[in-house]
């Protein structure tokens, strides 16, 4: 599965969310991460995030796709991080 995660949370929790999400996904720009995950790992990620957020204030969204092939990415402007596993 290919996951795009977007979050808008209270400033107090931004760092926490980022730290947790970075264990599973690649950071692409502020409040956005994406990457390939197995269904099991995705459940784990959701569980960890759910424990961190305040449900009345925060919003986290996951865009779940079968694979990277089903969508096309068009990007304008600065590429904030080079995404790839060759560093």
């Amino acid at each position: 599965m290919y996951i795009i995660m977007v979050y808008d949370v209270n400033e107090k929790r931004v760092a926490k969310i980022l730290k947790t999400a970075r264990k599973y996904l690649k950071w692409v720009q502020n409040s956005v991460l994406e990457g390939e995950l197995s269904p099991g790992k995705y459940e784990k990620l959701k569980l960890e995030i759910e424990r961190l957020i305040d449900k009345k204030e925060d919003s986290v969204r996951f865009y779940v796709m079968d694979s990277r092939k089903v969508f096309e990415l068009e990007a304008l402007g600065l590429e904030k991080s080079d995404n790839g596993f060759i560093l």
Binding site: K19, R22, K23, Y24, L25, K26, W27, G35, E36, L37, S38, K41, K44, L45, S81, F85, I86, L87
Partner: protein
């Protein structure tokens, strides 16, 4: 799960419970939960805390030197311990008959995979078929190794006919150091494949130190060498052919070293990019009735071996 390749120099650290590489240009985080192994080509600093973290997350760390040769592996503590399977693995190694059986299967599977590779490209070769039949009659391992060597030589000469550019033909296989472009590419691809298979063995109960075709000794992992024989044509040789015939790789990607050639960083990362793509490619598996990636195909090969050792099902390569 992905492999991470490091070319940059810097320090590898555990940070915020994930992997962080700190370079002059800043910090980069790698999602630890999705990493199968790390292959290091650059100069990195690391500490024990980081190795402990890799052990906890079950990630092997492979090192390569500047020329792209395999140097060694940080193989974390085994987490799938099975004394029973290790005994079985050793039994099949010590018992000459049992070992010969497995070695024969591996060699004939490897020749079959060469035949298949050539056939797909409309090259037929009867002598390879003869070599395959010969393996059945082989009486010891060294004879088998001889057949394997001859078959491979024959196969490389046929492979050469498929290379358009004469400059990039294999000719004679040379190693340590490889002396022409083709040999350099194949050597590099093979060493990548060895480590990939080693990482996959780590995820099974098998012990990589006990091989069947390759002599088990004091020095190195051998089971991954055995299994790699089956996959070299479909992964390494195919990649070699594609890269060379589409002229994606050229003289610019090589550096001269004493008495040979090596790939430079640009060449290496181009090769790796395509290598990873091939591993992700899927083929239709008749028995499972679904598509599986080449990486999982390798893993299934390992499970078949496990089953053979446990006496559940005779090992049939690549079916």
């Amino acid at each position: 799960m992905e492999s991470v390749y490091l070319f940059t120099s810097g320090s590898l650290r555990r940070k915020a419970n994930t992997i962080c590489i700190e370079t002059e240009s800043g910090k980069k985080y790698i999602p630890v939960e999705n990493v199968m192994d790390i292959k290091v080509f650059g100069e990195v600093d690391l500490n024990k805390r980081f190795l402990e973290f890799l052990t906890q997350k079950r990630i092997p760390l492979h090192f390569f030197n500047r020329e792209g040769y395999y140097v060694g592996t940080f193989y974390p503590r085994e987490y799938l311990n099975s004394g029973f399977l290790i005994l079985k693995q050793a039994e099949h190694c010590i018992d000459k008959k049992k070992r010969l059986f497995l070695a024969k299967r591996i060699v004939s599977g490897s020749i079959q995979s060469m035949i298949g590779f050539l056939k797909k490209r409309k090259v037929t070769d009867d002598s390879l078929r003869e070599y395959k039949e010969k393996t059945e009659k082989a009486e010891d391992i060294s004879e088998l190794m001889g057949i394997e060597g001859n078959a491979r030589e024959e196969y490389y000469s046929k492979l050469d006919e498929l290379v358009f550019d004469e400059e990039f033909r294999i000719g004679k296989r040379t190693r340590r150091p490889p002396k022409n472009f083709a040999n350099t590419l194949i050597s590099f691809g093979n060493s990548l494949l060895y480590t990939t298979i080693l990482s996959l063995i780590y995820q099974t109960h098998l012990d990589p130190r006990i091989g069947y075709l390759h002599e088990t000794n004091f020095r190195r992992f051998t089971l991954n060498l055995d299994i790699s024989e089956l996959f070299k044509p479909v992964i390494v040789d195919r990649l070699f052919l594609n890269l060379v015939n589409t002229k994606q790789i050229n003289e610019k990607h090589f550096d001269e070293v004493s008495e040979g050639l090596m790939l430079n960083d640009q060449g290496k990362s181009l090769f790796i990019k395509n290598y990873e793509q091939v591993l992700r490619e899927t083929v239709f598996h008749k028995k499972l009735n679904r598509n599986v990636s080449l990486r999982s195909l390798i893993k299934m090969e390992l499970y078949k071996l496990e089953k053979h050792l446990l006496g559940e099902k005779l090992y049939e390569p690549l079916l």
